[in-house]
Structure formats: structure tokens, C-alpha cells
Symmetry: C2
Subunit: 319 residues, 2 copies
């Protein structure tokens, strides 16, 4: 299916890569970027880009485009206000790494009816239009929200975007996505940073550090502003996750000091890692979008390792 | 210089690799292994190996060999008792990852006069004679102890062994080595395990986990017995190191919950990682072994990033 035109707001690493990937998939796509540099970068490679937000949103409204929010978190409220004024009926998604915070902003702007959150789980260490490329999403997981408010038609439109970009779609509730991101992405940043600080205080540590320490602290090399943006937007999930890891470390510490044993943590950690290595993956292909309990069925399938590799049947297509 | 014969006790990954590397360097080398399998493995590749401990130690005493303890920690007391009976005058070193615990055992056996601890900082995920190879130590750091009791002549013999194996020598005090190992090796195991357990409890986490989580939990795949052996032998250093990381995480948690900010940890962690990346390395070549304060000079040089790549001058060689 061709799908509606795609209107990308923000032509950085992710937004710029979506422009390239959707164009390559034969979709009509146009973009907006606040800075002239990003828009000119896109134009110079033959893409349809503007620095005029009102003009871009008016065009989106007239063409029934899917609007993709690809701007940083702090720019969201202002952007949503403009969309509410000029393109409130367009299908709307985003590519931000924390889903509850974005949903709250969307609801505050009164735009939740046509909104389905998204998160392509990929990236590079670089940013900006020039860092992007059309293959960025190839085979990467792209979370598409199945929150209670989600409309089946908009959900199919957003899922088609992710598939057109070459990603595999993992359906998930926003809060579950954020809890998972806290555990697998945000907490590892805090651990790497705490480890780097701890080792820096031991005189001989850097002199002896080698491969495993370098690996364990690698993400502490991420720019502090990026780490803060991720972690601080996910405070409600990251606080209890951090509490849990502190509890586990505290118990191991007591067991080590009291009984010279770390058996419990060593056994549990090895078992958890082994479970992760053997975590099953399978294709979701038979859930009907829009059927009774479709959102809950998709959320359960995503939790169980299911991914979507091609468009699912819809109630309409089966009638 | 040729150096004395090398007598390796224990022909596993490290001991077996020392046999191969020293033979390749032209040294006379013979080994002992408790199990027939390991000894036969060495013999079948043309090396001089035995399952008779008394015979091996008697030969070491007669030839003035350097004895290398390459057995697991629990086997040390019994092995040291036999050395005390049959080869008490031989120079003695070890390859164990925790140096204070070994030094305590050596002192308990009354063998510290001719003992200089060592720790080649390399390895693979596999174990046993068949996992070893002569290139295992190439350019790897090999810590050689400069504790207060260390004899200059024995120190030169042990350093020559490490250099003959292709390693670079980092001189260090045993307690400083153990504090560094707690921070760069043992604590990372606890963190990886606590992270794996935490993520395993979050329903969607494994479904979304990708490269960075896999890297962050990789060492949780290590066999629990090996993790316990390392961590539990280094309890006195690992407890305060774990306390420190819990303190840093606890502060970040309070700052996140109270002010929605992880600025302090993000900034400090990034700064520490940046310092690690730019940690200087240089060659130690002018410190005279046996001269006044030579042990303290070497310990300070090791802390500052100094490594030894060829034999240092000794008081004898300069006279």
C-alpha cells in the first residue's frame, strides 16, 4: 500500500534518515527544519525541505499527511501548539526515546486522538542531517505504541511508516516501553558512570584497566547532555529501577562482608543473562488490527518476543 | 639472559600458555599437572610434563628453577606445603588474580623470602591445557609485585619470565593491585549481574534489549564459580569499592527523584571516562633494581602508567 504523504518535522539524524528511507520506498515525503543548514542539506540532496513551519503544516493538512515529530523533547510543546492550530486532523507520531512524557505533552495539546507514539531503537554517535542515511533502520526494532487511546487506522499508518523504513515493529504500551528503556538503556548509563567515577579514585586502576573495563564504561563517553535528556525524561521509571539495582548490590555487599560470599548475585545474574541469550523471537502475523482486544493482544505478543515484519490484517481488509 | 629453568605447577589455560611461551623463548621448562589429561596434553605436544608432584619439585630444587604456581586458589595451601618440604629455596611466583590472599598463604607457609607475586592480566572464556597458546600474553600487562619483602634478584627473575612470555610488566604493591582489580574487574561483574537481574524482572526488557545491553551484561555470562572465586578472594577491597558505587548511585537516585536531575553523576562519569581514555603510558627503563627505594619508585611509576618492556638495570649490572 502507498500510504499518505509523510511530513517530517526536524531533519536531524533520525528525521533525516526517515526522509531518505521513505523516499527510497517510493513514498511522497517533505520536511521542515528550523535551521537553514539542515533544510539546505536535505534540498542539496534533492529532497523537499523547508524552514517555514506554517507552510509545511498547512501542506500536511491539505494532503492528509502523516506528521512525524523528530525534534528534541524541549521543542515539543511549541511544535504541538502549531500542529493543533494548522494540522490537528493529521495522523501524528514521534521518534522520541521516552514515550510517557511525549504522550503527556500530546494530551496537554489535545492531539491524542490521532497520535500513536513510536521509537526506532537505533542511532549512531553522530547527529544532524549529514549523519543520517536511508539504511539506519534496517532490521532495527521500532516500537509502535498500543496504548488504550490508540486508533486502529492511525496505528496501521504509523506501522507502515516503520516497515517502509526497513524496521521491524515491536508493539508496546508506552509505560512498559519506558520501564524497559529504564532497565536496558538508562540504568546502564548510570552504572557505567558510577563505575568510571569509582575506578578514577583508585590510583592504580587506570594503569591496569583493559578490555572489560573499557567495554563496561563505554557509554559513559556519551555526552552528558544526551544522558540527562534520556534519564530525566524517564524519571518515574528510572527511580524504581535504580532502587532495585541498589538493593541487589547492597545485599551482595552484606553477603560479601558477612559471609565472604557473592553466590546469590552471581547465580541470579548468570541465570538472567542466560535467559536473555535464549530469549525467543517470532513473527506476529495473525492479530487483526481493530478487532476486540487487539491492543492488549499486540502488547502481550511484543512482551513475548513477537515482531511485525509486514502489514497486519485489519478489520476492513478482512470484511 | 637465559634465566633459570621454569617449573610450572598447573597446566591449565595460564600455566599451559606459560609452558608454550617460555619454551618458544628458548627457556628450559617443565610442568606438573594433577590430572593425567592435562599432563598428557602437554606431553603429546612435546612438552616436559609430569603428574608426580614430588618428582617435579625435587627436580626444581636440583636445577634451581623458578616455580610458577598456576593452580586455583583453593589448591594453594597444599601446594605450598609440598614446596616448603621439597623446594623451599627456589624462586617462587604465581599467576593468581588476587595478590593479598596469595601473599597471606605464602607467608603462612614461611616461603615469602623467595616469593614475588605476579598477575598476567589476560585470558579467554575457555580453560584447560587445550585452551592455552604461546601468544596469550603478547603485549598484555603482567603485574609483578614490589611489596616491601620483595628480593631484588627474585624480582628480576620473575620479571624476566613475564618479558619472555611477551608481556609488558606493571610493577605494583599487592594491596594496590587488589584495590584496582576490585574497581576494574570484580565490581564490573557485580554491576553486570545486578543489571541482568533488574532487567529480567521487567516484562518488555529482553524484547527490546539490543547491543548496549548485551555489552553491559556480557561478563554476567561468566561461570558463577569463577566470579565467586575472584570476588570472594578480594573481599577486603571489594566491599568498600561496592559501598562507593552504591553511594554514587544513591546520590543520583536522590537527585533524580528530588530534582529530576542526574547532572552530577553524568558530568563526573563523563569526566572520569575521558581521563581514562587519555591516561598516559610510558616505558620504565632507568630505575635500578635493588637501589635505595627501588620498590617504591617502581610502584609510583606503575601508578603513573609506566610499563617495563625489557630488563631493567640492577645494582650488580651497574657495578
Amino acid at each position: 500500500m502507498a500510504g499518505p504523504p509523510v511530513c517530517v518535522l526536524g531533519l536531524g539524524l533520525i528525521g533525516g534518515s526517515i526522509v531518505r528511507a521513505t523516499a527510497a520506498a517510493g513514498r511522497e515525503v517533505f520536511g521542515y527544519n528550523r535551521s537553514v543548514q539542515g533544510a539546505q542539506g536535505a534540498q542539496s540532496e534533492g529532497f523537499d525541505a523547508s524552514t517555514d513551519l506554517a507552510e509545511t503544516l498547512t501542506r500536511a493538512a491539505h494532503t492528509g499527511a502523516l506528521i512525524v515529530l523528530a525534534v528534541p523533547m524541549p521543542a515539543l510543546p511549541n511544535m504541538l501548539a502549531h500542529i493543533g492550530d494548522l494540522a490537528a486532523d493529521c495522523a501524528l507520531t514521534d521518534v522520541t526515546s521516552v514515550k510517557r512524557a511525549v504522550l503527556d505533552e500530546v494530551e496537554a495539546a489535545g492531539l491524542q486522538t490521532r497520535y500513536v507514539g513510536g521509537h526506532p531503537m537505533t542511532g549512531t554517535a553522530h547527529s544532524g542531517w549529514s549523519a543520517g542515511h536511508g539504511g539506519l533502520f534496517a532490521r532495527a526494532p521500532w516500537v509502535v505504541s498500543v496504548d488504550n487511546h490508540v486508533d486502529a487506522a492511525v496505528w496501521s499508518i504509523v506501522t507502515a511508516l516503520a516497515l517502509d523504513c526497513g524496521a521491524v515493529v515491536v508493539p508496546a504500551k508506552s509505560d512498559e516501553h519506558d520501564a524497559a528503556a529504564a532497565a536496558i538503556s538508562h540504568l546502564p548509563h548510570l552504572l557505567a558512570e558510577a563505575l568510571a567515577v569509582t575506578a578514577a579514585e583508585v590510583p592504580l586502576a587506570f594503569a591496569l584497566a583493559a578490555g572489560s573495563f573499557r567495554d563496561a564504561t563505554r557509554v559513559a563517553g556519551t555526552a552528558p547532555d544526551l544522558v540527562r535528556a534520556m534519564c530525566e525524561a524517564n524519571t518515574s521509571q528510572l527511580v524504581p529501577t535504580t532502587d532495585r539495582v541498589i538493593e541487589l548490590l547492597g545485599r551482595a555487599r552484606e553477603s560479601l562482608a558477612g559471609n565472604a560470599s557473592v553466590a546469590d548475585l552471581a547465580d541470579a545474574g548468570h541465570a538472567a543473562r542466560t535467559r536473555y541469550e535464549s530469549f525467543p523471537r517470532y513473527d506476529i502475523d495473525s492479530i487483526v488490527v481493530g478487532a476486540e482486544n487487539w491492543r492488549e493482544q499486540l502488547a502481550a505478543a511484543g512482551r513475548a518476543g513477537g515482531v511485525i515484519r509486514s502489514a497486519l490484517p485489519t478489520l476492513d481488509s478482512r470484511q
